[in-house]
Structures are given as structure tokens and as C-alpha cells.
Symmetry: C2
Subunit: 321 residues, 2 copies
């Protein structure tokens, strides 16, 4: 039995994920070019840049130039990422072009939080409280909880389902204290530990406890299971996914340089097309944009669909004889 | 509901698939080195070479040197590929080292047979009859049918399930005429058209008609769905798979040079480990052999698991603190 959704909503994170990790420097105009090209493919949500400290992420020192430079298309929500008040202030300068949304960022592995953010659980909760207050005070809605390291952690190993549930509950408690209602939950496989069985377990447990929360998965393809994991989630009716064109991005926690990052948008779209699930995306157009991304960063991206091409085109050719 | 097998049997086809498509020339000693390294990983079936016309496949002009050069290990079945009497005669010279088996090679798309083999259906059936007679006369068992292009064809488009069933029936008829019993059926996604839904449809239809045949899948990862397809088959209890270390090989029919070929053995093994399905393979050892394969061919292979590494090693490290 499957419970495939009729359609899914994809958030394209290629520009933000990709340019934060590529060695570069990549001209701002090229980053803008990629965002504008993505805007023509039928995608309705694109994360364009990251307002982070240039010292930590030199690839996004030009976030302002990109946020100011792309040509917004009606019907597309352009978003950005930030982690603190300084980043939020930078993002707010583009409130006319960006869809600003606050989120409660939780981590299911304290070991990861320590290594990556130098925070223990108490400090993490305090930071989430501060961020929530900051966003709400500025009139920015806070309606989603995101949980990093929800499937496993390179520092602590397997992440128990109970740890994810606890992180979600922490987020819900903070939201309740602040008087904001959470409607969405995003589970991130930050270090590429998920398997289809784990997706089934975690989605099942979260749904049983909070059936009212809309689930989103942020999957990585670090070890080649990303699309199988997406398929396992689709079977359960999960209808929101993050992905990156060409598989842009990477995994700084992987054993080896050049490990794949997010699942590739065109592989996700191809999977959905073959399952009869609508994405709104023109796969052939998206594959062209994937090739553009490769020219911009100067190397091949990991997406197999970029090499193999769409099946629609082959079907048309076969039908034409 | 899932019907995962307790264990699967993998046939490693990396040497045969890889060296037939790499530009080379690759020294025979390096090919032997790869076969010998694979023999230490726990794999129990390795296809070592292809006895094909050197003019057509220059990469296997040295099939004899490889067949004579590797060091056979007890418990491992080493096999080879051939397509005609000349190839069979070459393979028979190594009957003491290779496990020789005849198969009935069928094609589910006549358009593919025409383009790839320059044969129509009648000629294809005649060739299968000749091969069967040839093998049986030499005392070589013929117990398996293989169907190429079982999921789709770049020349004719989607391949109907009925066309696959017809190809299998043709093979069974030829076997019956020749007085040999078929016990296994291999379905090949030669051009990378399979989706999880198509795997479910085809496996279901074949099983309903011939529940006595043991199913094997030969999956390609041309468009990134290969491991999701393997997972769909595992859910249905399919317990035999072909794959190649690192994803060695390629797809001469893909839209672009460098398209992935077979699913990568280490991704399949990793998937099985996470699902609790035994493979007998030491994943960390196999990943080392994948890196050896990359050094031999002089480029990176498409397997994500080669970049991301095994989870077992990370679990051990996390447990050690």
C-alpha cells in the first residue's frame, strides 16, 4: 500500500547550499544568473542566499548583491538563511524581495550541537528562544520547527527517535511560551545517515504524536541512499522536500572531500514524474539549469539525471519514430 | 508491509562492465589486481571478463590474460560473458577457473534488438536456440533467462509488461524444446528507465505468472533512481542483484558521455546493512577496492558511498568517544 501525494512542494536550495561550499570566488552576477535561470523552470520556492558572517562563509560575503540582483518572478517565494540577529538585520533590508520567515532551529544530537555550534542543550534552547522573540518582535511569522541531525550523527552515532521527538517538543514548548503556532516540521538528515527504514520509523513516530504538523524532509545523498529515502517518504504521503539543482552543495562532515550534499532536484522531479506525482517543474528546463550550474562552479555535479537526461524527451523521440 | 529477504546474493560485475567501457588501455595486471582485491571483500560471485570480439570491444582484447591471471579463492564463483560460439570457445579454455553457465538472452524491445544487435525478433529467437543447443551440447547448464530492456527502451519508449512476459515465455519455450529446465529469471534495466513503481508492477506480474522462478535484477543508475529501484525490489523479497564496485561501467545509450552505469555495489551493500539484510560483504573493505578501481581507471567513479564512507566506521568512532 502506498499513500503517494498528488503533488509535492519543492524548495530549491541550490544557490544557498552550493555557493557556501564551493571554493570560488564566484562572481555575484553568476550567482544571480543561476537564481534567475531557476526562476524559469516552474519552481515556486528558491532559497537564494545566506546572510552569514563573511569570515565563516566567504562564499556568501556577497549575499546583499545576490539578494538585490535577481529578478523576482510572480508566484515564486524567494527566501534566505540567517542564524543570528546580525544576519536577520541584513535579510530584513530585502523584505520587499525576500519572503522572510522565522523558524525554530533545533538539533537532535547534542554532540553535533557542541561540535558544530559550540552549544550545549541549554544554550541551544536559549538561542532558539532569543531567535523566536526577535522574529516575532519584528512581525516575522514563526510557524516551523526544523530539526538538524534527525537521522544520525557523525559524532554520536545513531540518533534515537526519542531524541528527535524531544527536540520537537522543546521547539513546541518555546513556541507556546512565545505565543506562536507551529504548523510545519522539517527533519534534516544533516550528515547523510538516513535509510528508507529509518525514514519510515521517524515519519511514523512524528505523525503519531503530532498528526497536525505538515512534514518536510531535507535529505542528503552523502552515501547514495537519498532518492530511496525520498521515495520511502513519498510512499507515506510526505509532500514537502528540500533539494538542490544538480546536487549542488556538499557535506563538510563526510569522510572525503567532494561527498555529495543534498539530493538533486532533477532526480527528485524525475522520480515524481515516473510515479505520477506533480511537481510543477519542467525537468528538461531544470536539467539545462543544472548544466549552467556546472559551468558556473567549473566542475561536474553529482546528479546522475544531469548525465542521463529526462525520460520525457526519450519518450517523445521514440513516439516520433 | 515489507517482505525483505534475510540475505541477498550479489554478482559483482565491475571488472567486466568497467573495462569494456573505459577508454584505456588498462594493463591486464591491473584488471587482475581488481579481481583479486574484490575476492577479499566477502563477495561470492564475480564476473571477471568478457570474451567478445576485440575489434568491437578493445578493452577486453586481453580477456585470456585476465582469466588466466587472477588467483581463485575457494567459495567464489568467477564467471565470464560471451555472446557467440567464438566467445564460448575462448571461455571454455578456462573451465577449470571459471564457472561456465549458459543463459537464454532475450530482449523485451525489438527496436533495441534491431539497433544494438541488428536482429529482428525471429533472428533473436534463432540465435537463442543456437546458443542453447551449443551450451547443452558442451555439457554447460542452461537454467536462466535474461531479459534486456525490460523496463524501457531509448528507441521504442516505455516497454509494456506484456512485452517482458512474452520475452520470458519465448525463452521458456526454447528451453522446453531443448529439454532444459529454467529456474532463474534476470530482468535488466539496460537503459535506465526503471522506477520503483515499474519495479513493483513488473516483479508482481512476473511472480504472478511464474512464482517458481528466482528473480534477479540488473539495475542501472543512469538517472539516479537505481538504489530506490533496488529498495523497491528488496521490499518485495527480491534477493539477487547484479552491481559493480564504485558504479564501474557506463551507459552507451545515455544522452551524455559519463552517464552512470550499474548501481554501485557499496551503495547496495550499505542499503542492505541499514535494513538488516545480510550481504556477506565487508563494506569498508569494498570501499577500499572502489578507491583502487578509481586509481586503475584514473578518474572518480559515480558511487556516493565511496565519498561518504560507511556508517559502521562512524558508529564505531562515535561509540569509542
Amino acid at each position: 500500500m502506498t499513500d503517494y501525494p498528488e503533488a509535492i512542494a519543492i524548495t530549491e536550495e541550490g544557490p544557498r547550499e552550493g555557493f557556501q561550499i564551493e571554493r570560488g570566488p564566484i562572481p555575484s552576477a553568476e550567482k544571480v544568473r543561476l537564481v534567475d535561470a531557476l526562476s524559469t523552470t516552474g519552481l515556486t520556492a528558491i532559497q537564494v542566499c545566506s546572510f552569514v558572517a563573511p569570515k565563516l562563509v566567504p562564499g556568501w560575503a556577497d549575499a546583499e548583491a545576490v539578494a538585490a540582483g535577481f529578478a523576482p518572478r510572480p508566484g515564486i517565494a524567494y527566501s534566505a538563511l540567517w542564524f543570528n540577529e546580525a544576519g536577520f538585520d541584513r535579510a530584513r533590508a530585502f523584505a520587499d524581495r525576500l519572503t522572510l520567515r522565522g523558524g525554530l532551529s533545533m538539533v537532535a544530537s547534542e554532540a553535533f550541537m557542541q561540535k558544530n555550534l559550540n552549544r550545549d542543550r541549554a544554550k541551544g534552547l536559549a538561542a532558539a528562544r532569543r531567535q523566536t522573540a526577535l522574529h516575532l518582535a519584528a512581525g516575522i511569522p514563526v510557524s516551523r520547527i526544523g530539526v538538524m541531525a534527525a537521522f544520525g550523527c557523525n559524532f554520536s552515532g545513531d540518533v534515537p527517535v526519542a531524541a528527535v521527538l524531544e527536540a520537537v517538543q522543546d521547539g513546541l514548548d518555546i513556541a507556546a511560551e512565545a505565543g506562536t503556532r507551529i504548523t510545519g516540521l522539517s527533519l534534516a538528515d544533516t550528515m547523510g545517515w538516513a535509510s528508507p527504514a529509518q525514514v519510515e520509523r521517524l515519519v511514523g513516530a512524528v505523525r503519531a504524536r503530532w498528526p497536525e504538523l505538515a512534514l518536510r524532509l531535507h535529505l542528503h545523498d552523502t552515501r547514495g541512499l537519498g532518492i530511496a529515502n525520498a521515495h520511502a517518504a513519498l510512499r507515506l504521503g510526505v509532500a514537502q522536500f528540500d533539494s538542490t539543482v544538480g546536487g549542488l552543495g556538499g557535506c563538510p562532515f563526510a569522510g572525503e572531500d567532494g561527498a555529495p550534499g543534498n539530493i538533486a532536484t532533477e532526480e527528485l522531479v524525475l522520480l515524481c514524474e515516473e510515479l505520477g506525482i506533480a511537481t510543477g517543474v519542467d525537468l528538461d528546463a531544470l536539467i539545462e539549469v543544472g548544466h549552467l550550474a556546472e559551468r558556473i562552479i567549473g566542475r561536474r555535479l553529482p546528479s546522475a539525471a544531469l548525465r542521463g537526461g529526462s525520460l520525457r524527451r526519450l519518450r517523445q523521440r521514440a513516439a516520433a519514430g
